[in-house]
């Protein structure tokens, strides 16, 4: 296969970027999208040019490092797929593909296709945990969790923190990301004591970090490589509203 990749090149956050077209030949349908970039980078290095920067690590779709826009879609055209698991058999020979970084004010570009997703860590740090000191845990089977709740929690916990949902959202909202963690922990009995405060803290943090609000477009769910459902956003809203109607907000002010 032959392809033309129009790739966003930007040396640093301080510099302006532009799309640069690179023809790539001898692409095998069994190559992953990142392997095509590997081949291109080998060529650029041989020519003494700066290779295209992109985050990646496990290349198994689980670490959440990779992710960029292909023809305007986060992680490209295949459903439930990260770009590292996107194989070239899904593209036609001779196609021209536009490859850009995730765009959101809260996820600024570092270089080329690499963005800074630290804001997602800030959301987790504000409340995405159960405060269980090492060594304080009771015997594991003393906490019974219905299979239904456990499976549902696992559905939400599958989030890989790639930021694709933010990039796909017209408002650059991190609602799906935040909802996934609030739901994962809120569905489990262990997560109940901190449930309301967690919802308040995480949602407030998200709003303070240049993420937009959710207006139910559903683009996030459509691109999520792990199929996280927007039903979890409804759970988030319920927890957040309930927390605001109770004394939870007073409680976090005291801390």
């Amino acid at each position: 296969m032959k392809l033309i990749l129009k790739i966003w090149r930007q040396a640093s956050a301080a510099e302006t970027g532009a799309l640069v077209a690179y023809p790539v030949e001898h692409v095998s349908p069994d190559m992953s999208f990142l392997e095509v970039l590997d081949v291109l980078n080998e060529r650029l290095i041989a020519q003494g040019e700066r290779p295209v920067a992109f985050d990646h690590d496990c290349r198994e779709g689980i670490c959440g490092s990779c992710g960029f826009m292909i023809d305007g879609a986060a992680h490209g055209p295949s459903r439930l797929t990260t770009v590292c698991q996107l194989f070239m058999r899904h593209f036609g020979d001779g196609a021209t593909l536009v490859v850009e970084p995730f765009r959101a004010r809260a996820l600024p570009v570092v270089q080329d296709l690499v963005v800074d997703r630290g804001a997602l860590d800030r959301i987790i740090e504000s409340g995405g945990f159960i405060s269980a000191r090492t060594g304080s845990a009771p015997e594991a089977n003393s906490i019974l969790v219905s299979k239904e709740a456990s499976d549902r929690a696992m559905d939400a916990a599958a989030c890989i923190g790639c930021g694709g949902c933010v990039a796909a959202c017209p408002n650059a909202s991190a609602m799906l990301f935040t909802a996934a963690k609030i739901s994962h922990l809120g569905l489990l009995p262990q997560g109940q004591p901190e449930r309301r405060q967690r919802a308040l803290r995480m949602v407030d943090t998200m709003h303070h970090l240049d993420f937009g609000s959710c207006t139910n477009h559903g683009e996030c769910e459509a691109v999520c490589p792990k199929g996280i459902s927007i039903d979890f956003i409804a759970r988030l809203n319920r927890d957040y509203i309930t927390a605001n109607l109770t004394s939870a907000r007073e409680a976090i002010k005291d801390v």
Binding site: P51, E60, E139, N141, I143, K147, A153, I160, L185
Partner: protein, 643 residues
Amino acid sequence: MRRQVVELDPKVPSGRIEQKWSKHRFEMKLVNPANKRKYKVIVVGAGLAGGAAAATLAQLGYQVSCFCFHDSPRRAHSIAAQGGINAAKNYQGDGDSVYRLFHDTVKGGDFRSREANVYRLAELSMAIIDQCVALGVPFAREYSGYLANRSFGGAQVSRTFYARGQTGQQLLLGCYSALARQIALRQVTMHPRHEMLDLVVVDGRARGITTRNLLTGVISSHAADAIVLGTGGYGNVYYLSTNAKASNVTAIWRACRRGALMANPCFTQIHPTCIPASGEHQSKLTLMSESLRNDGRIWVPRQAGDRRPPGETHESDRDYFLERKYPSFGNLVPRDVASRNAKEVCDEGRGVGPGGRGVYLDFAAAISRLGDDVVRQRYGNLFEMYERITGENPYRQPMRVYPAIHYTMGGLWVDYNLMSNVEGLFVIGEANFADQGANRLGASALMQGLADGYFILPYTIGDYLARVSPADRISLDHHAFRQTEREAADRVMKLLSAAGRRSADSFHRELGELVWNQCGMARSAPGLKQALARIPDLREEFWQSVKVPGTGAQFNQALEHAGRIADFLEFSELMCHDALDRDESCGAHFRQEHQTPDGEALRDDEHYCHVSAWEFTGVGQPPVLHKEPLAFEYVKPTQRSYK
């Protein structure tokens, strides 16, 4: 180079094995709670071991600085572990016990691990599950709400806990959440996108590290009262491995260059069920959890050269070689045995798929017995992953699998306290050598990482810190820090100024192929000598003709990569030295000269029942061997047999 006096004292406590750890916990010194905040600890790596350690040390009140090269501490390679984590809970009432898990792990390690460490690991396995559940890890459950278990990779009891096929991810996110909480509390200063380039050692004590900020290129140093390395394994020395692309040996290799001993580097594990390479462009291999072997049957055509599609190969023309050779364990034999047998049948010309490098893993029998739905419930995400990568539907045709490098049992030598021979340098998780012996059993890596990070290091580091004073911490103005920074900066400059045209990746591929062929699934003296002759030349070529574009004062992934390859080019030589020196077969280290008539690894307990701990003496110089003898008081060494 100044030779050091090395004393290899494993510091194993006296007494019955069941009492060693509790006795030791009482005997260790404690740091006064009011003084803990005065101590500073550096943790390098934020995987299961590093993340758990950083979070727990912070909870205890120490000032923790944690470094990782990823953009977030949630991305370490622990995340990719699929299958599960062992614990001797005996929830199934099927005869499991701490002693049985201990016994299985020592035996699985083919009698090359330290008994006392392994017992402690088995003992702590239960607390790990408790802790993870408390943190909200959504382990699989029965309809009753109790935790579910499965049997895994060669175990005859069901002791493996799992979260679909994403156990590593869920355990890591548990650690990460605990760590995130401590970051918010300012007990941990997190340094993402920082790579450790060197260890700073003054008068035999680890005093700090030198790092490169990967965003800005700034090289700087950080001082602490103790340094903890949880930087993972070095499987990427083989280029194609199941490890994440950025996993590397740099932190532990740099520590080795500063005097820490590297133990058993030739113990590298091959995982039997990976998706075979599809062509030249292959950048990494993907592992399929070996839980698949619980229900999948492994076979190849009986006749070499039989190229019929699997569906047309009649039952009588198939060779279920593991079931045939190992009737009692069948498809569940340990990883090394399964891997070598797969290689053997492919070497006989009976392999399937591109290049004949594959064997079938067939679910037809399981699907007709259990139905698509049950199989989907058990392995759904693995089947999807396989189909996504290969374009083939494993519900309708057998998977093709082939062994790949997956885990490294070798690593920096540590004593019972997880401290290396360099005072104040602790090494945890896959980065150390201690518990897995010559072969790791399935679902034991997650267990070891978390045992080290949550439950062992936080105690043993206190015993060390109680003996040193935070007032003695060396200031960053000390010449040792300046010197180490200069050396790190010089290396960066040297990489950038090499006037070649070859990418670092091309050297990595070449090195990988060399060590895979000569120091991979099977090794021999002539092959290892060939590798030892070639590696120094390859290293020389690298420094002459590598091309690293860009500058050091910017985000430069090509530069990061080249630095890691440079270290692999040094480390790989030590790995081959070790493999050549260990003139026996044991576990995953299979020397072709030493096998039983059945083709099993043939140990030589008389001469090699020891840990080989290597001292670095200079690049290209022969390393010096130090031996820690191993004694087996509880599990008597036997020839492993899975017949």
